[in-house]
């Protein structure tokens, strides 16, 4: 066993020599205080710590949202052994930045300056220094470092320079430099994954509707970037379009055409008018709805006609708003006609809230706000305009094995890239930070369908999908699809409507209303059998 004294003496001697030695002979070192080290993230002067994303979404890298919000990465490093040297921060996609040639001196630069750093640093003992690197400065020159080399203050356009869907690793180099800009001592480097481009949108998006729901299906992506999909819908669940009532038409069972067409938005005089037409050769019945706006009272009138030639009549009624000064009201009533041609209708205004689909007065009917044309309600400026970048020439990088050999060649695609800019409030299950926080509507690249529940029957909804990559980037939206939920008759509804009395749950002892429970009876029988067996055994 060695005595500790010689080793301590050696250490103190080495330290004394390091302090007393000439500057050029000391070892300049830049290092992190601990490993693994991740820089802090500054946004608007606020420090958000080392990560702002979920652990599965490239938490220590940067994505498009970080870039567009002008995030700054703050590195707090320890400088040791400096006596007048300088420190600069460089970035590169490949190789390193320690050679002068890589920094543009005597060659084409492969590195670009991201921080001028410090000059004339004097820190013999370890001293902590901060180096800020703007994300935009980090990713902007990745395809063409400036030549001659200079620190370029990049803008938001830097966030659109990436030409691949996959993340781009960029290495930061913190270089201790002498007066001739030669590297002296030990630099510090760190690689950071940058991803500015969302994956291409899914193709083959189709929709079907159900009762208070819309189901969207699509062809799953097959790229290496996608990890999930976001679903956006306009109007968002819980809201209705402001003109939902104005164009509502009433549909009833066994009718392919609207039984009653509502009037258009009422005039300022408070008059609502609409036409009602029957579709059966028998009696025609339906409701009439019209929006009256402006005044507190008015009248409603409309013409009703049956399918058979003689069935026509006039529907008329009075509509009155509920309160003076109310901005809008709706008038609704029932119109009925028969083959004899008699038709009558009455309408009364109720001052309903503007923007809601009316409630049908007839069972099984539904109001649908088609608008002027069937497709008049399809199309959302919010959804279709939600693309910040259409990287139509974006390429899929080749797949490499561990030795760097190409397994699968890369390809250029024209299906688009870029990122979505649709407000998060239109997303399903995304919360308020769908681009920075990493919420995803549905995870898994192989997912191919999603059901949006909680919708309002009769309201047209526009839906788009966007793919999400492993960095939390949301790609451009898919082509829009639209549909409206409507009541359906599933088996259970049909059965109960037909008079079936079963149901109520597995634990229900008996069909509702029955005096004795079948399960109870079976239990009694079983207990009796058990008792009989026991008596028989005792008898033996």
């Amino acid at each position: 066993m060695q005595h500790p004294a010689p080793r301590a003496l050696f250490g103190w001697t080495a330290l004394a020599l390091a302090i007393l030695a000439p500057g050029s002979a000391r070892a300049q070192t830049i290092a992190a205080a601990f490993q693994p080290y991740y820089p802090d993230r500054l946004l608007g002067g606020q420090n958000f710590g080392p990560s702002t994303r979920l652990v599965n979404l490239n938490p220590y890298g940067v994505n498009h949202d970080d870039c567009i919000r002008d995030m700054t990465l703050q590195y707090n490093l320890l400088l040791t052994g400096f006596s007048g040297q300088s420190v600069q921060v460089w970035a590169t996609r490949s190789g390193d930045c320690t050679s002068l040639a890589a920094r543009g001196s005597g060659g084409v630069p492969t590195c670009w300056l991201v921080n001028q750093g410090l000059t004339s640093v004097s820190s013999v003992m370890s001293t902590s220094s901060s180096f800020n690197v703007r994300v935009q400065d980090l990713v902007g020159p990745q395809n063409a470092p400036p030549n001659p080399v200079a620190l370029v203050a990049e803008g938001p356009s830097a966030c659109s320079t990436q030409s691949t869907f996959a993340a781009v690793p960029i290495t930061l180099w913190f270089l201790p430099l002498d007066a001739g800009l030669n590297v002296v001592g030990t630099p510090y480097s760190q690689q950071i994954n940058t991803d500015m481009v969302g994956p291409p949108s899914p193709t083959g998006v189709t929709k079907t509707a159900g009762d208070t729901l819309i189901k969207v299906t699509w062809i799953p992506n097959s790229d290496l970037d996608t990890v999930g999909y976001d679903v956006f819908i306009d109007p968002p669940p819980g809201l209705q379009p402001t003109d939902a009532a104005a164009d509502a038409q009433l549909y009833c069972p066994d009718s392919a055409t609207p039984v009653t067409a509502s009037g258009s938005s009422g005039s300022t005089s408070g008059t609502a008018a609409g036409a009602a037409s029957g579709v059966s050769t028998g009696s025609a019945s339906g409701s009439m709805a019209g929006a009256a706006s402006g005044s507190a009272s008015g009248s409603a009138s409309g013409a009703a006609s049956g399918a058979s030639g003689s069935a026509s009549g006039t529907a008329s009624g009075a509509a009155s708003g509920s309160a003076s000064g109310a901005p809008s009201g709706s008038a609704s009533g029932a119109a009925s006609g028969s083959t004899s041609g008699a038709a009558s209708a009455s309408a009364s205004g109720s001052g309903a809230t503007s923007g809601s689909v009316p409630t049908p007065t007839e069972a099984g009917c539904i109001y649908v706000n088609f608008g002027p044309g069937i497709t008049g309600k399809c199309g959302s400026a919010v959804l279709t305009g939600g693309t910040a970048l259409d990287a139509s020439t974006a390429t899929t990088p080749p797949v490499l094995d561990q030795d760097g050999n190409t397994i699968e060649g890369g390809s250029t695609t024209t299906t688009g890239g870029g990122v979505s800019t649709i407000p998060c409030a239109y997303g399903i299950g995304l919360g308020g930070n769908c681009y920075s926080g990493g919420d995803v509507t549905i995870t898994g690249e192989s997912s191919s369908s999603y059901t949006i529940p909680g919708l309002v029957n009769g309201v047209w909804y526009n839906v788009v999908l966007a793919s999400v990559d492993g960095s939390g980037n949301v790609g451009p939206p898919s082509p829009e699809v639209c549909d409206y939920p409507a009541p359906v008759s599933d088996f259970w509804k049909t059965y109960r409507t037909a008079g079936g009395q079963a149901g109520g749950g597995f634990c229900a002892l008996e069909t509702l209303g029955a005096p004795a429970g079948a399960s109870f009876a079976l239990g009694v029988a079983g207990a009796g059998l058990l008792a009989a067996v026991r008596r028989r055994r005792r008898g033996k």
Partner: protein, 262 residues
């Protein structure tokens, strides 16, 4: 009528008990395997198991409360669905010159699903087919007394074994749509139904077709006989008079499958 069936079952079971020999394993042990008297080195036989497949349509629309309406057919059509089930029997007693008798229990599953229909034609196009599925799942269970008349095979060498089963049936069921269990008027679409279970079938013993394999099967796993069987099955889950207006998820079907005695 419904209450009559359990009585018949009980009487049949009692009669069988009276006629049986006390030991079910009275077997001859001096004949070659696979022949009519093939129990030369045969292991003991106490149980039977079946894997069952049946095209099945429940009798939901037979409910008198529906007054002739056909909600099941309207929702799912008339095509039968596959019912998968399994059964385990204890051949507790052997009746000389007849066969075995004992209790058995079975369980199965079937699911019927189809797109639900809109109440009003959907625009544009006026289609009635919605994107929502409507589904009825049925989990049937039954307990039966099983009589297998294997005397034809064991004593005469005819590889046919007729059998009969009678007992009680019970089923859990659940009606659902895309959003989960259906609910109409505050009544959820799930519950249970009870009734009677009756089956008559015939099994074709496979041992004569490959005696060596049959012997190996017995030596290695203790399986005495393997059968292909066909069976007429009637499960009447109309409540047995104890349950009013149950969902009639029973039905009549032809069941086919494999059976093993061991």
């Amino acid at each position: 009528m419904n209450a009559y069936r359990p009585a018949v079952a009980a009487a049949t079971f009692a009669l069988a008990l009276a006629l049986t020999a006390p030991v079910a394993t009275a077997q001859r042990r001096d004949a070659p395997f696979g022949s009519a008297s093939h129990m030369g080195r045969e292991s003991q036989q106490n149980f039977a198991a079946e894997i069952r497949f049946a095209p099945f349509s429940p009798d939901v629309d037979s409910d008198p409360a529906l007054h002739g309406q056909t909600p099941y057919q309207d929702a799912f059509g008339s095509a039968p669905r596959l019912m998968l089930s399994a059964e385990f029997d204890w051949q507790a007693l052997r009746i000389p010159h007849l066969g075995t008798i004992g209790p058995g229990a079975g369980a199965g599953y079937t699911s019927i699903s189809r797109p639900a229909l809109f109440e009003t034609p959907h625009q544009p196009g006026g289609t009635l087919v919605s994107g929502e599925d409507t589904t009825l799942e049925i989990f049937p269970f039954y307990g039966v007394a099983v009589l297998r008349a294997d005397a034809l095979w064991r004593e005469l060498g005819v590889p046919l074994v007729p059998y009969a089963k009678v007992g009680l049936g019970y089923a859990l069921w659940r009606a659902s749509n895309t959003l989960g269990t259906s609910n109409t008027g505050g009544v959820s679409g799930e519950g249970h139904s009870i009734g009677s279970h009756l089956a008559i079938g015939i099994g074709l013993n496979l041992n004569p077709f490959d005696e060596y394999a049959a012997k190996t099967f017995d030596d290695s796993l203790g399986v005495n006989n393997s059968y292909l069987f066909g069976e007429w099955t009637r499960e009447d889950l109309s409540g047995l008079g104890l349950q009013r207006n149950p969902l009639r998820v029973g039905g009549t079907s032809w069941t086919f499958g494999l059976a093993f005695e061991f």
